[in-house]
Each structure stands twice: as C-alpha cells, then as structure tokens.
Amino acid sequence: MRGLAAMMVAIGVVVAANVAAYGHDTQVDVSVAHRFTLSPETRALVRAVHAPLRIRAFLASHGGAADDARFLLSRYTELNSRIRFSVVDPDAHPGEARRFGITRYASVVLTYRGRRVDAPDAEELEISTAILRLLRGHVRSVCVLTGHGEPALDDTAPDGLSAVADLLRHNAYEPRDLDLSTSSIVPKDCAAVIVAGPTDPLLPAEVQALDAYTKADGRLMVLATPTSRADPNPLIASWGVRFTGGLVIDPARSENLDTANVIVERFPSASPVDAGVSRLQLPAGGGLFVAVPPDRPGLSVARLALASGRSFVETRPDTEIDFDGLDIPGPVLVAAAADDSRVAAGETGVPGRSGARIERTRVVVAGDVAFVTNRFLDHLSNARFLLNGINWLTEEEQLLATTSRPSADRPLPFTPERQTRVLAVTVGAVPGAIVGIGLVPALVRRLRRRRR
C-alpha cells in the first residue's frame, strides 16, 4: 500500500514536471549558425500572422532534408498555432505536387488569405521571407519588354518564358508585358523592368524611355543574347557594365560536349543575388566586362558569376570555336549587378520632398537569356538566381540579408576506399581492441595459475 502511494506520488510529480517543462520550454541551439533557432526577426514576423497560414514543403520523405524541414517548421507552429505545415513527397503524392505546379524537390509553398508565395528551400530565411511577402499582401508589377522578338511570358514552348511568369506569380509579383512602341514612358508602377533577349534592335525612343526610367530610381534587368541584332550596351553602359557579344566557351565547365553550354560555379560577390546559388547553366551566352567611370563614386558593380579560368569569349562563333588572338580570354564574367546611389536635390513645392534625398538605381545584367527559358529555368540554380535578382532589384531581399545563414550541405563523397577504412576501424579495430583489452586479465590469471 505504501509502495502504491509512493508510485502515485512519483507519477504525479513526473507528470507535473513534464507539463511545466512543456509550457515553459527553453532551448539551447549549438548547431552551426543556430540553424534551428528562429531569429528575433522571424519570431516577430510569425506573431503577426492573424489568419491560417499553410506551409507545404515538397521534399523527398526519406533523408535528412525532410526531417530537418519538419523540425524547423515545427518551430514556427510552436510560436503560432495558426501556422500549419506538412511535408509532401512529390513522388508519393504526384497529384498534390501537380496541383501546386511543383516540378522539383525542395520547393515550399505558403498560402495565406488566398495568396500564395513560394520559398525556394526549407530554410528559415527563405520561409520567413515568404511569410513577410504574404503578410505585406500587395503584389508588385514586373514589366517585361515586348515587341522585339523577345520570348513571350505566355509562351509554354521550351524557348518561352511561361515558367518565369509562374515563378514571379508564386512570389508575389505580377508579370506583365511592356510595349514601349505605344507609350513613350515606363509606367510608374513597374517595380522592375526586364529586357529579356530582344532579337531586333530597340527604337531610339524606346532606349531613351528605358534610360530615363532607369536614371530615375529605376530597376532594370537586362538578359542579353549574342544571337541578336539588338545591342544592349546603350541600356547598361551608364551603369558600368558592357556586353562583349561573342559566345562564351568553357572547355573546363560545360554540359556534355557542348562547350558553349556553360556551367558556372564561381560566384565571387557577396551580393544577395548570389545567395543560395551553387551552379548556373548558361547555354549560348555572351560575355560582360565591368568599366566603372571614375567620376561615379556612388556606382558599384558586383561581379555575380564567372565562368572558369579556361573560358573565353569566341568573337567569331560562326567561323570557328577555338581560342585565338581575336578572342577575349577568361575567366569570363557572365552576370553583374550595378548599384548607383546618389544624393538628389529636393523638389520645391512638393510636401515631404523638399530636402535632399538618396536616389538609387539598380541594374542586373546577364550575358544570356536562354537560361531563364522554360527549357533551362529549372536547371541547377537558374530559377533561384533570377528570383534573387528580381528581389534585389525591388529591394525585397531585406529580410534575406538580415537572416542569411550558411548552407546546411555537408558533402562527403563516400568512396569505396573510405568505406573500407570506416569498416576496418569501427568493425575491426575498435571491437578487436575491446576484446583484446578484456582478455588481458584472463591471460594474466592463467599465466599466474601455470606458474604456481
């Protein structure tokens, strides 16, 4: 009877202790860069969610990524019960994956009040940035220039840009066509303008309109193409970047035997445009070079992506694909980002704008347009790079910059030699040593007995 009472008391104490610990849980995170502790910015953001927010992480259900995602997402649900999440394996649930237009692993879809924003990975900074966009509610226009043979936003063919349109819509942007042949000014509500591989030259009035837009706090992305009669330099030269034309050839890093189908692995800048970008596939691109005028102290140009040291720009791709004296040696710059900040005088008679203010122009240039077409957008980090570029142009990368964390990827190629080494040590040497050490006293005893 006394024993039973003691047991009841013990169970009561244990239950009470666990309930108290559940209600007042504190956590110490010793993982690298505290990957599983939500930052103060995220915690504040999560508390501002006042309606059901659903997170669907499309990941392979086996393996560490899905487990990590569950653990991280549960940190969000602990903070706010309106947030719910599920980890969906696209292979096990192809219908659901198709319903959300998921074509690759590691996509996270967030829905809130009928709106949808996608996160490119199940990491805190991406998920929190997506929540921030959902909470902001407004959709910003991204205007895409048309009328010069550019691939179209509604074209679902491999060379079209329908995948870009989907990507933008899933990230709280509204892509729309911009026809400067009917209007001589870029609409004010264009948060950014994309000039995506025109094949015919732009009219002088169109160049003038884009130049005027860019100089007045504009945000421009130029995706040039060497297979074009349109010269992008009038649009970008003022911002310290020039397009060399030609064709980038990289014998060291290319897809299969096509040396013009370049795989880019060097991202030397600390720009947010390169965040999370590991490799790019740029088929048939041209080169860039940076030439910042000395009289522009506010202008800085980041070299976003470089082909390998063996790359070069073939200036006569129609006649030969070999490096010679006429070609431009590598490593070839294939993408750059320009940021120009300057102090502008105040406007008289305009309330709130009478004082001096900072004007900022941002321009992203890539020497290739094919990498964002439907055929290539899902390859490697192409989509991530494009979206980072748009986010940077529209200054939506703010949260991303404050919570940026190192990659969780820890590659360890487990070669047969390494496997043999691990087995030899862990299954051979260590157990053998334990048995050996254990046998020593027995052997000593036996020897002593024999001596006697």
């Binding site: 024993g3 003691a6 244990v14 995170d29 010793v30 599983f36 190629p413 691990v422 048995v435 006293p441």
Partner: protein, 233 residues
Amino acid sequence: MRQALTIAARDLRANFLTAFGLGSTAGFAAAAGVVLVVVLRGNQARLAGWFGTLYVLLGVLAALLTMRSFAEEERLGTLELLLTSPVRPWQVVTGKLLGVAGVLLVDVAATLACPLLVASMGHPDAGPILTGYVGVILVGLAFVAVGLAVSAATSNPLVAAVGSLAVLLALWGAGIVSGGLTGWPRLALEELAPSGHVVGFLRGTLSTKDVVYFVSLLALGLVTNVVVLEERR
C-alpha cells in the same frame, strides 16, 4: 553512498570479466560502425541518422545489460542476502544503476571513433554531435532505469530482457499510434514517446522539455525499482 559505490564497482568488474560483458561492448561498437557505413552512403557528413539508430540500439543494449542485474542475483540466491543486509533498497538501486551506467559509458566511448572518422573525412557540424552524445547519455540512463525496474520484478533474466524491450517498444509505439489521432490524445502520446524527444538532440538543440522527459523516465524507473525491492524485502 559508500555501499552504493561498492555495489557499482562489483557489478562493473563482474561485467568486464565475463565474455557477455566484453561481447556486448564489442558488439555495440561494431553495430555502430555498420550503421555509420549505411548512413554515410548518403554522401553527407551528417550523423543524425547514425544517432537516431544508436538510440534504438540503446534500448536493446539497456535490456541486455540490466537483465541480469536483479534477476541473476535472485537466480543465484544472492539477492536475498543483499536485501537482508543493512543496505537500504535505494542504495542497492543506486549501486546497480551506477554499475550499469559505467558499462554504458564504456560502450558509448567505444563509438567515439565514428564521429572522429567522419570529421577526418569531411566537415560535420560539431553541435549535433555534441547534443547527440548528450542524448545518448540521457536516453541510455533512462532506458537502463526502466530495465532495472523490470529486472527487479522477475527472477528470469530472459523474461527481464523481453519485459524491458516490451516496455520500451510500448513507449516508442506511442509515437507511432499518435500519428493517427488528433487533439490532446495525439499530443499526450507524442509527449509520452521517446522518439519525439530525441529529434532535438539530432539537430543540435537541447530543450528543457526533452531533458526533463528523460530525467523523469529515469526517476520513475528508479522509484519503481525501489518500490519493487521494498515489496520483496
């Protein structure tokens, strides 16, 4: 406390002087190595999968190490001697726990070669390895306490081992069953299962609720053990 330490030292020595004790330590180390090879085939220097399997193996190890603690003493007739001596039941239980904990520590130390090997080949995150081992100690001690309680309730070592495994499986099973439920029953079963409380250790986090859970399991096992011995006295 001196009596408890005497019992612990005697059990510890006895364990490593038998083929069973040596075999279980060597076998545990070898099993950890085999699991490591399987985990590393994912080509990532991540040990979450390895630690996760180690926690399951700890259940088996705890059942094997504790099955003879009381059951064997009873079979040999030494338990009666122990219980009628001027040693109090809590001292006996503490001594037995420390003895098995010592063996467990040696077994765990034998697995240290695994993360060291991974560190020599790649760049694993040191945080989850540290918390993983904190988890190994906590999980191991809690499982040992459960095993000791079951062992004290029977005179057959085999029954003790199977009984311990059954209790631990029931606890793990609570986590699986919870998946099909909703509301507070789901929450209660999730919190009852060790599976939900080891996830933080695998990711490099230590939370009070996980630590309190395993300390609770340890305390409950020890109290049960003392109560069983008091009843048998």
